[in-house]
């Protein structure tokens, strides 16, 4: 892409110069980092001294900029670097940021804004009011297109293996949109009920609030949302989708991985059959997880989410080989057979009656098998993982006389989750650390005792944990009636061994596509990864569905991205956003049944949050990535303009010259702590006041931010951050006196009963009509007090006390109470201009503005030939002076382009 000139910055300076150059016939590229042109001027109420409406003056220029045939306007774009070339031209790298909205489709109807669930400070209203993660910058924006503020993936959503939009459903619950929250979850994972009970919740571990008072209880929020939805929807809201595809798909195993694959494929219109060897579907959800953690009616309701799509589940149908499936003509197969077998233990007495494997014990209990009866028995569980804990707690609930867990390392090394261990111990289960089974002793073929080898911790092993070693000669025998072995699970991959297994017996699959060595056969879930967690298995099913569809479409399984989440935002970034103190919001404790009650039955231990608790917990969310991807805007947008797969685009361009019009920065009033900004809602900046006075104001009228009262006694404090060496800026900002007088006049117009006082060192009113404007304000009754303000403090009743010295009145230090104080903040240099150029950098003046080496005679020229500057990027100036300066800069650009093109032409023609 080639242009004559690139204008960086679309404020009044950039627009003026760009339009002038466009009118001269040059091809102009205008780059603006924000979603609209207009800069600061469009946000003003009126302009001094004419009191013309700022929008009425800027809007025509903005629209001309958007429509000029010679001006290519690129908003939401930034210049990464500019490299001067030997021929006097420049190469530059441009980045167009992702806004997640297709500007060509967006009509600017703003329907999206009203449904968005994330409220953020509206920077166009200088944070006085909230806008939404999706927003149109301001009513007169050019182009008038919605954009989404999204800083990356929120840590919770990013941590979810299945890509569940955790932040999305949390923000929906916060907004009271529970059914929408449920439906959002169903976009990414189909078993929300089971997950709300039994997910190990990696999202909670990643939650940024964990760095403050404690992570959000995300799973409890999910449970509230699911319970509410299932109570209102005993059956799914949808039915069998239109049969779009004829390829039949077989899935072996109806655990979370199989169910998830079936769900995603059936939604795409494929006929899916699930084969399950057990009498009921659910895999581990039904046969492993104890009902006190996951009630079976929740599993049943979750499975309806899949069967409602027409998925046929053939229970009691073990598949003995791959051929058994292939003979039935399925176009693709997904093997999700899980890890339901126990690991073998080579120890004396292993085959005695009363020595059982944990999975057999658990499923036997749920099916009422006598082999799993623990009532009245002395039960010992061998192992330190989550399965061991489940087995111990189930034995207790069966009415075991005593239950202990034996683990060969110590509690600190136990792989079970901390909370689960604590719960088990609180229920009275004993933990015997540093013990390993040395053999089981039987009588009449039945176990009566166990021999325990005492262990100690040696050097760390491959897992990083210290290796347990036997202490020679320390073996103890203790009576036991039931020994439950929970020392690991083995994949149920035996019948399919011909496909190729890894050393641990799991399927050997391509990690990305989950394809096995046999085309059309995919495998996933615990059977491919080893024992994991429900949500990881669901993720595998979802991944398999994606690649199976590609396989059936004849598309390559290589070179595609299944999971294209944005990079995660860091906790530090999120926490650094706070400008004031956050309220301490302790984590809501998830209620539990008391120990005495819960250990006697399989009733669910965790109790639900109330609606108020769930919303309060959700409101602790920090909106880490900003937009939560709740997808409400997607639903609301009539134009289908919102696309979360949009990404940033980089372009390389060539330009004949560069015009820098990056404008100014405002003095941050917090850097003058004696002026109290941030300590009261009624100490505001003049930029905020200009918004309150503008017709497009954030409020319904001129009211004060603390309580909506029409202010009656307003003070202006001039030179806040200007002419003040204590904050490092000795310059006069030139506009503050005049804009304050302008605002004072506007206030007197809209609040005729109000008193306005302006505190200043002196009033600088040079320029055509400026002094008259000042006198006019005095005539209207504005009080001018000469004297620097020393201190500004809020009172307990929302008023503000100003301590000042009255020089003219010669009465020394005084205090005055006002109901609103406006800080007339100064302008400062915007350092961004200096980041644009790759060597040589732009030279700066002593105040950090872009240096014009010959400011008087060659305004607009910078230290680099071919690079020009316009407006406040080169120094403080008001709008008339900015427009004038831009005209001069445009003329300089035109002259340079003409000179350089004739030089280039001469060089090409071989002339000197």
């Amino acid at each position: 892409m080639k242009y004559d000139v690139m204008v960086v910055g679309g404020g009044i300076a950039g627009m003026e110069a760009g339009l002038t150059l466009g009118d001269m016939g040059f091809n102009v590229l205008m780059v603006e980092k924000k979603p609209s042109v207009g800069g600061r001027m469009i946000l003003l109420s009126k302009v001094f001294p004419t009191l013309d409406c700022a929008s009425c003056v800027s809007a025509p220029k903005m629209s001309a900029t958007g429509n000029h045939p010679k001006v290519d306007l690129q908003v939401n774009s930034e210049v990464k670097d500019i490299r001067p070339q030997l021929d006097g031209t420049f190469k530059a790298k441009l980045v167009r940021k992702a806004t997640f909205v297709d500007p060509a489709a967006c009509t600017g109807c703003a329907k999206c804004e009203t449904v968005c669930t994330v409220a953020t400070p509206d920077h166009y209203n200088y944070d006085l009011a909230a806008n939404r993660a999706i927003h149109i910058a301001f009513p007169q924006a050019v182009p008038k297109k919605a954009v989404i503020t999204k800083e990356g993936s929120s840590p919770c959503s990013y941590a979810c293996p299945a890509g569940v939009q955790t932040h999305g459903y949390v923000s929906l619950v916060r907004a009271g949109k529970y059914a929408e929250a449920f439906r959002l979850h169903m976009e990414d994972a189909p078993l929300p009920g089971s997950l709300s009970r039994a997910c190990y919740a990696p999202c909670e571990g990643a939650c940024t609030r964990g760095d403050l008072e404690g992570n959000l209880s995300i799973r409890a929020i999910k449970r509230f949302m699911v319970d509410r939805y299932y109570a209102e929807h005993p059956e799914p809201e949808y039915g069998i989708p239109e049969a779009l595809r004829s390829d039949r798909i077989a899935i072996v195993g109806s655990g979370p991985a199989g169910l998830s694959a079936a769900y995603f494929l059936a939604r795409k219109g494929y006929p899916v059959t699930l084969f399950e060897s057990d009498p009921e579907a659910g895999g581990m959800l039904r046969h492993g997880l104890p009902p006190y953690r996951l009630p079976r009616e929740i599993v049943d309701r979750d499975i309806k989410n899949i069967t409602a799509l027409g998925v046929e589940i053939k229970t009691g149908t073990p598949i003995g080989s791959l051929e058994q499936i292939q003979q039935q003509g399925y176009a693709a197969t997904f093997l999700a057979v899980g890890t339901l077998a126990g690991q073998g233990l080579e120890v004396q007495g292993r085959d005695l009656e009363g020595v059982v494997d944990a999975m057999d014990f658990l499923s036997g209990t749920y099916q009422g098998k006598p082999s799993a009866a623990a009532a009245g028995q002395r039960v010992v569980v061998v192992g330190g993982g989550n399965v061991a804990i489940d087995a111990a707690r189930v034995a207790l609930r069966q009415g075991a006389r005593q239950v202990s867990m034996v683990y060969r390392r110590t509690r600190a090394e136990m792989p079970a989750h901390r909370a689960e261990i604590a719960d088990a111990l609180s229920e009275g289960i004993a933990l015997q650390e540093l013990r390993a089974p040395a053999g089981f002793v039987g009588q009449g073929g039945k176990v009566v005792a166990a021999r325990w080898q005492e262990m100690r911790l040696g050097a760390p092993d491959a897992s990083g944990r210290r290796r347990p070693e036997p202490v020679p000669g320390h073996i103890k025998e203790e009576p036991a009636d039931l020994i439950i072995l929970a020392i690991g699970l083995a994949p149920s991959t035996g019948p399919f061994a011909g496909l190729g297994l890894d050393l641990d017996g799991t399927f050997a699959v391509d990690q990305e596509s989950l394809a096995t060595a046999v085309p059309g056969v995919f495998a996933g879930g615990d059977a491919a990864t080893g024992p994991g967690m429900i949500i990881a298995a669901i993720a595998q099913g979802k991944r398999a569905a994606f690649y199976i569809e590609r396989f059936l479409n004849g598309e390559s399984l290589q070179g595609v991205t299944f999971d294209a989440r944005l990079p995660v935002v860091s906790h530090d970034t999120v926490l650094a956003r706070a400008e004031g103190p956050r309220s301490a919001r302790p984590k809501t404790k998830v209620p539990e049944l008391p120990v005495e009650t819960r250990v006697r039955s399989m009733v669910e231990v965790e109790q639900p949050l109330t609606e108020d608790q769930a919303r309060a917990e959700a409101s602790r969310c920090l909106d880490c990535g900003v937009c939560s991807e709740c997808h409400q805007c997607v639903e609301a947008c009539p134009a289908g303009a919102i696309h979360f797969d949009q990404r940033e685009v980089e372009a390389e361009i060539e330009v004949g010259s560069v015009l820098v019009a990056t404008g100014f920065d405002l003095f941050d009033a917090r850097k003058k702590p004696t002026y109290g900004f941030g300590s009261s809602a009624n100490i505001i900046t003049a930029t905020q006041m200009d918004r309150i006075l503008a017709p497009t104001r954030p409020y319904n009228s001129v009211i004060r931010p603390s309580d909506g009262k029409a202010p009656a006694n307003i003070a202006y404090v001039l030179c806040t951050g200007s002419r003040d060496c204590t904050v490092g800026n000795s310059l006069c900002s030139r506009v503050c006196c005049m804009y304050s007088i302008k605002q004072a006049q506007l206030i007197m117009g809209s609040l005729p009963l109000a008193d306005v006082t302006i505190y200043s060192i002196d009033i600088r009113a040079y320029g055509k009509g400026y002094d008259e404007f000042y006198e006019q304000a005095q005539g209207m009754g504005v009080r001018f007090i000469k004297g620097r303000v020393a201190k500004i403090e809020p009172t307990a009743d929302d008023n503000v006390i100003v301590t000042y010295e009255d020089i003219n009145g010669k009465v020394g230090v005084q205090k005055a109470e006002h109901d609103l104080v406006v800080l007339s903040v100064g302008l400062s240099a915007n350092p961004e201009a200096f980041g644009l150029m790759i060597a040589p950098g732009l030279a700066r003046d002593p105040y950090n503005y872009v240096l014009e080496p010959d400011e008087d005679l060659e305004p607009g020229r910078t230290s680099i030939p071919g690079v020009f500057v316009a407006g406040t990027a080169a120094g403080v100036r008001d709008i008339p002076d900015t427009v004038l300066h831009s005209g001069a800069a445009a003329a300089q650009v035109a002259a340079y382009l003409r000179r350089n093109s004739s030089r280039t032409a001469a060089a090409l023609a071989g002339r000197p």
Partner: protein, 96 residues
Amino acid sequence: MPEDLTAKPRILRDRAEVMRDELVWRQRIAAVMQDTPMTLPEIAAALGQPNDEVTIWVMGMRRYGLIEELPKSRADDYFRYELKHGSQGELNHGSH
């Protein structure tokens, strides 16, 4: 009642946090002003929440079409706000 001379100004919360809370408070705000238009301090008192935070929430609700102001005479210090006709749809979340 004598003025409490020891009263200290309240410390303002992080503004972004206050704004996030609008989504939680708006149904409660709608509930207290269901039958009568109210000023911002009246709404704040009914909810037991700080005036400045309620101002931010109500102005957010106004911006997105849920609330509107009634005309006020010059002598009145405060505007009264009422629920906008037809705003119930967006506010009545919580059960479907």
